[in-house]
């Protein structure tokens, strides 16, 4: 009797669920976030202040909104490098409308519509014409921002209606901003969409094996089309928040933000080659990046030096696990 039971014992590499959770990328990231939080609170006396921390969230809320949609896009094996330029174009369109006396609801509608249209433009090139998304979005990255430059030149749009400031400068309750609320709502929507729906399952399937996904009845091009639309839409939302917060539009608005968004997604554990990743990972990555930039800001580190950290973070996050695997493989041999 006992012999049989030992024969049929479960091999010990099938770990328990808690063990796997503890060893996951998200857990590691969370530990990093907590460590940064602790280090920051010792490094600067101004860090542990509810209002300062509230201000710090602006470092990541707008980027994270795009990062959620971008995560889905990257999981599906595509990428959109034009997001920052979509912000510029949407913001310019809103600025132009504000010149002609558009009210807040119209401005929001225009911001979202321009975002959607830009997303659709990318989507047509990628899914209908079958072109690689990297080249298409490098092209639209110049085109969208280029249109902003044509419209604005050296100028800037100001004079947004007072009620428009609510999105980027408003507070829901105490230190909790409108942007934070949007961030939470969007995170939940994308979390459910990716992890709990057929659509989310299709996104993973496409990223792992587009041909296999097609043969199992997934409308691959249509899913990709929707993902580009969503990324455009989220860029529109971010454009509304950013424009409302800054209160002005220049054609160089959000320059280089695509890099930070991609970094956030990759830092969140999404495989840059597609097929795996999670929304909770991106949420924690958003906090990590926000805390790092805020902490460095309190220590008077200039923005361009922070971008070195972002660049190192992007490469390091991908390089380190691979280096680790290489060293492990060498030791085994």
């Amino acid at each position: 009797m006992t012999d049989i039971s030992t024969d049929r014992s479960v091999p010990d590499r099938l770990n328990s669920r808690t063990y796997r959770t503890l060893r996951s990328w998200e857990a590691l990231l969370l530990a990093v976030a907590i460590a940064i939080f602790v280090v920051n609170s010792f490094a600067s006396p101004y860090f542990l202040n509810a209002w300062n921390l509230s201000d710090a969230t602006f470092n990541f809320t707008e980027k994270a909104m795009i990062a959620f949609a971008m995560a889905l896009l990257i999981i599906a094996g595509e990428i959109d490098l034009s997001v920052a330029s979509i912000i510029a174009l949407a913001s310019t369109a809103m600025g132009l409308a504000a010149q002609y006396g558009a009210g807040t609801p119209e401005l929001v509608l225009i911001g979202l519509t321009v975002g959607l249209l830009c997303g659709a433009f990318n989507a047509v090139f990628v899914t209908v014409l079958g072109l690689p998304s990297i080249v298409v979005t490098i092209g639209t990255m110049s085109l969208f921002r280029g249109i902003s430059f044509i419209i604005l030149g050296d100028d800037a749009f100001r004079g947004y209606p007072a009620s428009f400031a609510w999105f980027g400068q408003g507070y829901i309750y105490w230190v909790f901003t409108v942007e934070m609320l949007l961030f939470v709502i969007i995170a939940v929507i994308y979390g459910v969409l990716l992890h709990k729906t057929n659509f989310g399952r299709a996104v993973y399937a496409i990223g792992n094996n587009p041909t296999g996904a097609l043969f199992s009845g997934i409308r691959v091009q249509r899913v990709k089309f929707i993902l580009f639309l969503l990324t455009g839409l989220m860029s529109g939302v971010a454009a509304i928040c950013l424009t409302s917060r800054l209160g002005s539009t220049r054609p160089s608005i959000a320059m280089g933000m695509e890099l930070e968004v991609v970094t956030m997604v990759v830092l969140g554990g999404v495989n840059i080659l597609g097929g795996s990743g999670s929304i909770p990972g991106v949420v924690i990555a958003a906090f990590v990046m926000g805390l790092v930039t805020f902490g460095l800001g309190l220590l008077n580190v200039p923005g361009i030096v922070m971008s070195i950290f972002i660049g190192l973070l992007l490469i390091g996050v991908i390089a380190l696990p691979r280096l680790w695997a290489m060293i492990a493989a060498r030791n085994k041999a």
């Binding site: 014409l129 080249v135 110049s142 921002r145 430059f149 490469i315």
Partner: protein
């Protein structure tokens, strides 16, 4: 035979440039005066040099978005060296610039080769890192013309046979590349790696190593251009050549270099760069605001890439055809 001497795509592009020139000349005859064309070519020279480097990288199925940042960092470094040591001969300055650029290219190359990180991610990262380092070494300050030695700023403008050295560098680079791509094992393996990496491995080509070499070439050219750029404009600061990487990629895509790798030609890259150069120089002449430049290169990328896709890949130079096509 005829199609070999006059490849269809290069002929179309050359035709487009001639038509463009004719259109501009119909209203502003002065634009096609030889002296002005030489000036336009000289203005386009940095783009030609960088496009050739980018071509090699794209042919191996990679992309280098860090070229402009590499250019700016090398430019700043040699400018600061010149300020510190005004007596240093120009050949040494050029050697330093090429070396520095090659080292930065090698960093990209190693990350792609040894850690197999996607090139787009690597070069997006190094692009910001290089820009940040410029700020760190220069403290955000400018190096202005009066601080540079006359020999330093004079070199790219010195004239040989009526053309500035800058133009000659572009011409010589083009000739070297024409020989390298068609007559050497390196050129052949670059095409093979992009055309079909699996088959390339079976023919004894190290794919990762070839990609590494491509990045080093692209980096070295960016370094060389960095010195020429800073010396020509006689100023160095953090943001020089900002966004220029997009123009370089645009020149390659317009020149018919397939982003999927393995298809492209030296002539195409040069003509693509010249096309953009003519457009850029014609804008102020026909009284269009220079702010149109960015949107025009963006549209040019999109039109060219859509055109390439519809023209089909079979006509290009694929040395090792993939199994799916032949069977």
């Amino acid at each position: 035979m005829l199609s070999r001497t006059f490849p269809i795509r290069e002929t179309i592009l050359a035709g487009a440039i001639v038509v463009l020139l004719a259109l501009i000349a119909s209203r502003f005859a002065g634009f096609i005066a030889p002296s002005n064309l030489a000036r336009v070519f000289n203005d386009t020279a940095p783009l030609i040099i960088l496009a050739l480097g980018q071509m090699v990288v794209i042919l191996t199925r990679c992309i280098d978005l860090s070229v402009a940042a590499n250019l700016a960092l090398t430019g700043m470094a040699v400018a600061m060296i010149n300020v510190a040591m005004p007596g240093l001969p120009i050949p040494i300055i050029i050697a330093i610039a090429i070396m520095l650029g090659a080292v930065m290219g090698a960093i990209n190359g190693v990350l792609v080769w040894k850690l197999s990180i996607p090139p787009i991610v690597v070069t997006l990262g190094t692009m910001t890192i290089f820009r940040g380092i410029i700020f760190l070494i220069s403290d955000g300050k400018w190096v202005n013309s009066h601080e540079m030695s006359p020999a330093f700023t004079g070199f790219p403008r010195a004239e040989i046979l009526g053309l500035p050295v800058l133009s000659w560098v572009a011409i010589v680079t083009t000739l070297i590349f024409a020989v390298m791509m068609s007559r050497t094992p390196l050129g052949r393996s670059i095409f093979a790696v992009g055309g079909n990496p699996h088959a390339a491995v079976y023919t004894g080509i190290d794919v990762g190593r070839t990609q590494f070499q491509a990045f080093v070439i692209s980096g070295a050219l960016a370094g060389l251009t960095g010195y020429l750029w800073v010396a020509r404009y006689a100023v160095a600061y953090v943001d020089i050549a900002g966004g220029f990487e997009l123009e370089v990629v645009a020149a390659c895509v317009i020149g018919g270099i397939s982003i999927a790798g393995g298809v492209g030609s030296v002539g195409g890259a040069v003509l693509g760069a010249i096309f953009l150069g003519v457009v850029k120089n014609a804008l102020p002449v026909v009284n269009i605001s220079p702010f149109w430049q960015l949107a025009i290169s963006g549209s040019a990328i999109l039109i060219a890439v859509a055109f390439n896709a519809s023209a089909g890949r079979k006509k290009g130079r694929i040395i090792l055809k993939s199994a799916e096509v032949t069977s």
